[in-house]
């Protein structure tokens, strides 16, 4: 029997919300990959976006505002055989959680971050999020925004993510495909998902996006994949250059590199049994007794033990 990747819960997003597209694309991606739901975890933050794990029939950890990445880090590092996906809002990942977003890049842990980029703090009723550009006044704002926005692509690039892409919530096919590519990539991945918030963001609407979006993969010479050290600099700079485009909005993979080891690989260089027997899979007792015997103990901690002179 095929696994049903949607739970039966009623989805309580606003009618027309871009999150429906993300939910559809993500479940389709999981289905396409026939992913084992028991070995998959969706870790989310707090926000409208944060509710997504409850709607998906794989393990779901709905964490704290901004902390999905560190929770996911513990999950992945203690059991690297799990597929770990993070879903978070733009406030969640780039506001309160920005420090963790950067740290994940530095580690290149094999975690996929899906950034629900709606320009607002949805669940708290529409305040400006860190991706809302300066001078914009959405309907929920009392005055125009006086903060500049962060570009998720350049932040991800400068933090060391090895897979950096953008997609659009309402283009379910494109988004699904991008998610599949991210899951297939080995290393820290970020997808900036442009997500209309029909209730609070009356500027960055479907119409707005649909007029401006174009696909990188349709550019003739677009090859974002870094295959050798030599290519890195130019492809990195080109990705940044593309990320700076504002009038027309490119979606697709901006940058992907496969040369870097993942954090898990680096750990296993230090602890050779790590991937087979990660923290979650080690036996730590034998019928309630510690696996370390007294003899073993004395050997392990010999430099802390002194035998008294007779």
């Amino acid at each position: 029997m095929e696994h049903e990747y949607r739970t039966k819960l009623w989805v309580d997003w606003c009618p027309g919300c871009g999150n429906y597209g993300i939910l559809a694309a993500l479940t389709q991606a999981l289905k396409e990959l026939k992913i084992n739901p028991q070995n998959t975890v969706i870790v989310s933050g707090i926000g409208c976006s944060g509710k997504i794990p409850h709607y998906i029939n794989v393990n779901g950890v709905h964490t704290l505002h901004g902390r999905a990445i560190p929770f996911a880090t513990g999950i992945k590092l203690s059991n690297p055989n799990l597929t770990v996906i993070v879903n978070g809002g733009d406030g969640d990942l780039l506001g309160i959680g920005a420090g963790h977003l950067v740290a994940l890049g530095r580690r290149n842990i094999d975690i996929k971050v899906l950034l629900h980029n709606n320009g607002v703090y949805g669940l708290t009723k529409g305040q400006a999020s860190p991706t809302l550009p300066i001078k914009i006044k959405t309907k929920a704002l009392i005055r125009e925004n006086i903060h500049e926005n962060i570009n998720p692509i350049t932040i991800a690039l400068s933090s060391g993510y090895t897979f950096v892409a953008r997609s659009y919530a309402m283009d379910v096919k494109h988004l699904k495909q991008t998610i599949v590519s991210a899951i297939n990539h080995k290393g820290a991945s970020l997808i900036d998902i442009l997500q209309p918030c029909v209730t609070y963001n009356d500027i960055y609407t479907r119409e707005y996006y649909e007029k401006r979006i174009y696909k990188l993969e349709e550019l003739e010479d677009w090859d974002p994949i870094v295959n050798s050290e030599e290519e890195r600099r130019d492809k990195y700079l080109r990705a940044i250059e593309k990320a700076m485009e504002m009038e027309n909005i490119p979606i697709g993979i901006f940058y992907q590199e496969k040369l870097k080891t993942t954090f898990e690989e680096r750990i296993s260089q230090r602890i050779p049994t790590y991937l087979q027997k990660p923290p979650a899979k080690q036996k730590i007792h034998e019928n309630g007794r510690p696996i370390i015997s007294l003899t073993e103990f004395k050997k392990i901690f010999k430099n802390k033990i002194i035998e008294v002179e007779e």
């Binding site: 230090r270 602890i271 080690q282 002194i306 002179e309």
Partner: protein
């Protein structure tokens, strides 16, 4: 000269100049010979240059439990030590000093804090030493070192590394520590670096020759009760316990005095056992403490025994996630080493002012265990018990220790591994309609993420499946399921984890918790021996859930004005917890908040003052 069964020593010098080497060599030699040793390291929040000292006690009778003044030996590496500790030497004690600093005047000592200087006379070291009423052992460090550089062809710039050997030599001579023990100790310290062992031994022997035979303190022959001892800091022993107890994931953000525990674990990240099996411990340095605790929770969800370790400022950042763990019935262990607070406070000093905070940290109500330990041996067993309790009851456990335990190095017997159980609680590995928060029992079986189940978790109130609910009745049931754990834990926890009680008489009762345990026991003994009064001692170990009945019963056996709290804080926080739970208000309080440990002598005096009715609140201030 009479033989003594214990001796107290101060080793002082600038931070970064080798004090720890001296202490390690001496401690190893003492323990090798069968003595018991305890030593506290006091240092500034500074890397190189500020005054630092080691305060130790060596006993031929037992593993000592506390420190005291005055001391019988002060070994000073510099002028500042002499100025700082001038009043701490016993009249029959010996001051070891460098004759090269005799001309230094107080005002020349730049590294010394102005506030301290302001209280001292602006004299030269020479004037000061002359005025001291004790034996003085002046050594010309420079000369020794220049002899050394000549003989061993050591560059002059590196000579200062051998100052430690001068001090070791002088103390070894005074205490007549034999060469064999010293060689053993040097070999341990310099692990296979032959030349260093040889050179150091050479210096020690030079000193042995130089120092006159009249410098002697006769230590009784030791009576060791065990064949082997461990010499460990609190950080070490907790790290060892985590390895034995099955911690396989630890994440942390560096902070004094907790970080060394993680570094210890990291150095054991790969353990290859006899049978070829390997233990691998993933130790992650995170970007902050929020990430540390969050990742530990994540690891726990997958079934790894996981813990983090921190101090006050770090714990303050962890409290939001602590609530998530509580609400999601996720077992985690937080090893919490208190230090001088509030805020960054006294980062390298001690204190016990975070108890109340741990009891109610994080918004809202959820079950938690707060467990304290009174010494290294307790800390070992308690760490493992804490891991068990966390999993058995699916709650966060805060193991509340402090800087005095963390940095104190003590000789302890090898733990009894056969006493140790590992209890992972109720776990199931598969199940079609698995419900993580099944309301059938207070403790619902855990399924690890990655087993043959699917679970959901949320910080929001949730239903049995772990999905969000705002239904008032489900809310009430789920809330009560969680909170009922407190009663359950209280009922099931064995006494040994709740408190230790030394019942030696009804003249008075000392109540303490955590690291003040040892000094209370020692003060009790002294008052019995010297004053002939027979008191008892209650050390409370578990504060959440609080053993109200037992504590209440014990206290009620004493006149309330004979009950005395001993705490390293201002508010007498344990007294507040006691009154909160039992209604008993204990007004006699011996408190200290200088950041230094409580010493036996000042405690004994303060107990006398209280028992004589002179004072209800005694504030201690000894120690530099």
């Amino acid at each position: 000269m009479e033989e003594t069964d214990e001796i107290n020593i101060i080793l002082g010098g600038p931070q970064g100049s080798g004090l720890e080497t001296i202490s390690q060599i001496l401690t190893t030699a003492f323990v090798k010979l069968g003595y018991g040793v305890i030593s506290d390291r006091e240092y500034h929040s500074n890397i190189i240059g500020r005054h630092s000292y080691i305060h130790m006690k060596v006993s031929s009778e037992e593993e000592p439990l506390s420190l005291e003044y005055p001391v019988q030996i002060i070994a000073s590496m510099d002028a500042e030590t002499i100025f700082t500790h001038q009043n701490e030497l016993s009249p029959d004690g010996i001051l070891i000093y460098d004759t090269g600093v005799l001309k230094v005047k107080l005002e020349d000592v730049k590294s010394m804090e102005e506030e301290v200087k302001a209280r001292l006379k602006n004299v030269t070291v020479e004037e000061l030493v002359n005025s001291l009423n004790c034996k003085k052992l002046g050594i010309n460090f420079k000369q020794i070192l220049s002899n050394l550089t000549e003989e061993y062809n050591i560059p002059a710039t590196q000579a200062s590394r051998y100052i430690s050997a001068i001090i070791v030599g002088a103390i070894a001579k005074i205490l007549r520590i034999n060469e064999k023990a010293l060689t053993y100790a040097l070999n341990i310290r310099f692990e296979g670096r032959e030349l260093l062992v040889k050179t150091n031994m050479h210096v020690i022997k030079m000193i042995d020759k130089i120092v006159g035979e009249e410098y002697e303190i006769k230590l009784k022959k030791p009576k060791p009760r065990h064949k082997e001892y461990m010499v460990v800091s609190g950080n070490d022993i907790v790290g060892i316990a985590k390895i034995i107890g099955g911690v396989r994931y630890q994440s942390y953000y560096p902070i004094t005095p907790a970080a060394d525990e993680s570094l210890f674990l990291e150095s054991y990240e790969r353990i290859i056992m006899e049978n070829g099996d390997e233990i691998g411990i993933c130790v992650l340095q995170t970007e902050d403490e929020i990430a540390a605790i969050s990742s530990v929770i994540g690891a726990s969800l997958t079934g790894a025994r996981s813990s983090t370790t921190t101090s006050g400022p770090g714990f303050s950042l962890m409290v939001e996630a602590l609530g998530w763990a509580g609400n999601n019935e996720t077992p985690i262990l937080i090893t919490y080493y208190q230090r001088g607070a509030p805020s960054t406070g006294l980062p390298t000093r001690g204190g016990q002012a975070d108890l109340l905070f741990t009891l109610s940290a994080s918004h809202g109500e959820f079950p938690r265990i707060v467990l304290t330990s009174g010494d290294h041996i307790e800390a070992f067993y308690d760490t493992i018990e804490a891991l068990n309790l966390a999993e058995k009851y699916q709650v966060p456990v805060i193991h509340l220790l402090d800087k005095f335990i963390a940095n104190t190095i003590a000789s302890i017997p090898i733990p009894n591994l056969s006493e140790i159980n590992i209890d992972r609680g109720k776990v199931i590995y598969e199940g079609e309609d698995y419900k993580r928060f099944d309301l059938k029992n207070i403790i619902s079986p855990r399924a690890y993420i990655g087993s043959k189940t699917i679970s959901w978790y949320t910080g929001d109130e949730h239903n049995e499946e772990g999905h969000i609910t705002e239904d008032p009745l489900t809310r009430t049931k789920m809330y009560e399921k969680r909170m009922n754990k407190m009663k359950l834990i209280e009922t099931e926890t064995p006494q040994r984890l709740k408190y230790t009680y030394l019942d030696e008489g009804r003249d008075y009762l000392l109540i303490s918790w955590g690291s003040t345990k040892g000094v209370c026991i020692d003060a009790l003994k002294t008052l019995k021996k010297v004053d002939g009064i027979h008191g008892s001692h209650l050390n409370i170990k578990m504060f959440s859930p609080f053993p109200s009945k037992e504590v209440s019963r014990i206290i009620s056996e004493y006149e309330v004005n004979k009950v005395i709290m001993v705490e390293n804080n201002y508010m007498s926080q344990a007294a507040m917890v006691i009154s909160m739970h039992t209604g008993i208000i204990i007004e006699n309080r011996i408190l200290k908040y200088t950041g230094r440990p409580i010493y036996k002598d000042e405690l004994t005096k303060a107990i006398r003052n209280i028992l004589s009715g002179k004072n209800k609140r005694e504030v201690l201030i000894n120690g530099a």
